[in-house]
């Protein structure tokens, strides 16, 4: 393959060389156990403390509020299960949304089987949570509101500040799955009144297998992984120092480049949206036109099926995604697209393109041409398109 255009950065990102560089000393050299007493072990403490500080600074949090995990899924599981456990005396009702990642949804289903009640909020056609519905859903026994910061499929950014305000007005804990948002858009846990926040390293050019849960001081949740006394006794397991060091570096780069990156990506994003909507008929944009992640574009091409589209794009050297990559083992159309009101057959024809800093205008132009060609070809062999054309009498 001569050319590769990677437009699936919401699924995972390239671990950038600076990050790998930051990890390398901790494999073969400063490999000591961070919990040990000798100097080789203490060498490992420093990058861990530094990464914790970098990450805390990005969020406006304190260092001792950052707890490293193995990724976003573990952070989400921890936040929900441990809150349910710690606060069940107060109540057994949790509020979340219909468009959460499966790490949240399946954890909620698990809790439902164990006597918890979960309200799944609707979203509007753009994927935005309805705040009035949220207010109405709150009950005296509501212990947690968990709403994602930005959706992984359609990129919609939720009104986090408003949700945080509503949660705290009612004395309810507020968790946000910021796996797609951390490092991409500014977040302040204090201004947004966030009590817990999940993140995953590999979504921002950091390593896979590392994430964190921010837990505001005072939130009394306990461990999800029990064992050794690591992470202030809240998350057992020998610290993944290379992963943590890499994550710290990735967060540092993300924070330093964020402003410029947002500007550049937003421009490219809007350029792509404009051209595709104009040049490919029977196409809709999924997600909010403006309140969306700077690097996210999501279209539905009528009469076209997503998997075929992906393979054909791949043959042109373009990596993209149709619905969440995590669920591509499944055949169900994306729950997010259904939640914003798409009929099944349109949901099946969705395409997510998520850029990185490396994405160029040239890449986007090439991708648009490829999409146009493939969509046309696929429509020519689609019985749905045939029916549509015949019906509309063309």
């Amino acid at each position: 393959m001569s050319r590769l255009i990677y437009l699936d950065n919401a699924a995972t990102t390239k671990t950038v060389p600076e990050v790998v560089e930051a990890m390398l000393p901790y494999f073969t050299e400063h490999y000591g156990n961070a919990s040990s007493i000798y100097s080789l072990g203490r060498d490992s403490k420093e990058p861990m403390n530094a990464a914790r500080k970098t990450i805390a600074d990005v969020l406006g949090a304190k260092e001792n509020e950052i707890y490293f995990t193995a990724g976003g899924s573990e952070a989400d599981n921890w936040a929900l299960k441990a809150t349910a456990e710690a606060y069940q005396e107060k109540g057994k009702h949790i509020i979340t949304t219909k468009i959460e990642h499966h790490a949240i949804l399946h954890t909620c289903e698990y809790l439902e089987k164990r006597g918890f009640e979960v309200t799944y909020l609707d979203v509007d056609e753009f994927g935005v949570v309805k705040l009035d519905q949220l207010e109405k859903a709150i009950r005296p026994d509501t212990i947690l509101i968990s709403v994602m910061f930005a959706n992984n499929e359609i990129g919609t950014i939720e009104p986090i500040r408003e949700i945080g305000e509503i949660a705290h007005k009612h004395g309810i804990l507020f968790h946000t799955d910021a796996v797609q948002a951390f490092g991409q858009v500014p977040i302040s846990v204090d201004e947004m009144q966030i009590d817990m926040l999940s993140s995953s390293g590999h979504k921002l050019h950091g390593p896979k297998g590392i994430g964190f849960l921010y837990i505001r001081k005072g939130v009394k949740i306990r461990s999800f992984v029990h064992g050794g006394a690591q992470e202030r006794k809240r998350r057992a397991g020998t610290e993944n120092i290379p992963g943590i060091a890499g994550y710290g570096k990735a967060a540092e780069i993300a924070a330093a480049t964020m402003e410029e990156r947002i500007k550049k990506e937003t421009e490219l994003r809007d350029y792509m949206i404009g051209r595709v909507l104009k040049e490919v008929p029977y196409t809709r944009l999924n997600g909010h036109p403006k309140k969306r992640l700077p690097n996210n574009v999501n279209f539905s091409f009528q009469f076209v099926e997503g998997e075929s589209l992906l393979i054909m794009l791949d043959m042109d050297g373009i990596c993209a995604s149709s619905g969440s990559a995590c669920t591509s083992g499944s055949l169900d159309p994306s729950h997010v697209l259904l939640a914003i009101g798409l009929p099944h057959e349109i949901a099946h024809g969705s395409l997510r393109l998520t850029m990185s800093e490396e994405t160029t205008k040239e890449d986007i132009d090439f991708t648009i041409e490829s999409i146009k060609k493939i969509v046309e070809r696929m429509r020519s062999m689609s019985p749905l398109y045939e029916d549509f054309i015949k019906k509309s009498g063309k």
Binding site: F303, E307, L331, D332, H344, P383, Y385
Partner: protein, 161 residues
Amino acid sequence: MAAAGGVPNQEEKYMYSEKVMDHFQNPRNVGEIENPSGVGTVGNAKCGDIMRIYLDIDDNGIIRDCKFKTFGCGAAVATSSMATELVKGKSIQEAMEVTNKAVMEALDGLPPVKVHCSLLAEEAIHAALWDYAEKNHIKITGLTKPKSDIHEGEEAEQEEY
């Protein structure tokens, strides 16, 4: 980005076999037949797969031509293509033997989650033959009225521990 490091293995590169990829990239017999002897559409858009098969059957009951249109995944397109290849030139009774298993074998297999697509191809042929039989008021041995939705009642595959 060049594939260095000696890692990717060509066979593993796609979830599909080379034959499937070939039929997906270069599908045979795509299109419509004007005034077909029989046409059948199966599947539904909800499940993400719709297959339509057109048959041109001569007076001796030989399938002279066969075309398809498919909305669906790579496996759906490839099985449609292969199914049309397999029935072309066959008698009706021979065409009845083009089962999902036969299509799958001809494609060197399909990944487990995609096996149901080959069912679709068999059903589409049957549906087109049924249409032909109805139009001509004949009965084809072994052929029953096609289900309107072959996916109904089918459950997402459960992991086996």
